[in-house]
Amino acid sequence: MKVGVKVLPRKEILDTQGRAVESVLHQQGQEGVNCRIGKYIELEVPGQNKEEVSAQVKKMVNNLLYNPLIETYELEFYE
């Protein structure tokens, strides 16, 4: 099963990359636009049972893929 892990910097953390891109967007006339940049991790996990795969992915996310102090995450399941 394919699972996407969307990781974003926490709101209270200054997102330097997002801010750099935001300032260029503003220079291009896109005033008022907010931009935040994180990362997208695509996993191919053996197994088709969504509950089991979800538990397994959460384990990986908590153990390595995100740092709860500075990031948040969301999972996306591809059917």
Partner: protein
Amino acid sequence: MSKKVGILRFLGTNCDQDVWRAVENVELQPEWLWYQDHFSESDYCAFVLPGGFSYGDYLRCGAMAAKMPVMKSLSEAVNKGKPVLGICNGFQILCESGLLPGALIRNHNRHFIDEWVDLDLVSANKYWAGELNECSIPIAHGEGRYYVNEDELKKMEDNGQIWWRYRHNPNGSVSNIAGVMNHKKNVAALMPHPERAMFDWMGSQNGRIFFESLLR
């Protein structure tokens, strides 16, 4: 007492030779510890995690090194009270492994900063640097902005876990923090590089005291 200092090396560690020389120069015995190693803490008097770019800083700096087998042995050594020093990427690895609180994120000005900084001692660490009150040593990092939330910062301050502060904050670190310690004070880490300030010809020998103090 053993005079052996274990120097941990991961894929992408690149300040290892400098740390080796620094340890050797204060009459201690450096020994390499490879990232796949398991070791017995009783053979060593202390451990150093040098700087560099372990795993190319992929995912988050220090994140993957923190999960390597050698860190399991290091964690046992920490539980037994052995002194550990993390420098730069070593600091990031210690934070990612949970042996130190907080995280190190991209500098607020987005630049890689390579310069000399002045540091003021906040709480002394008895193993590393001792009572050295202030020093001038180099930094070289792109992700050195120390971050903890307010509650955790307060706890750390109350418990004397802030080790060094920058006199002029170069990277946006919370509360000007350059170095911190764990709750038990046997794990200490900083972003500046004491091993790059060992002799006057390097610009200063302030860094010597960080390593010499192990012998006291």
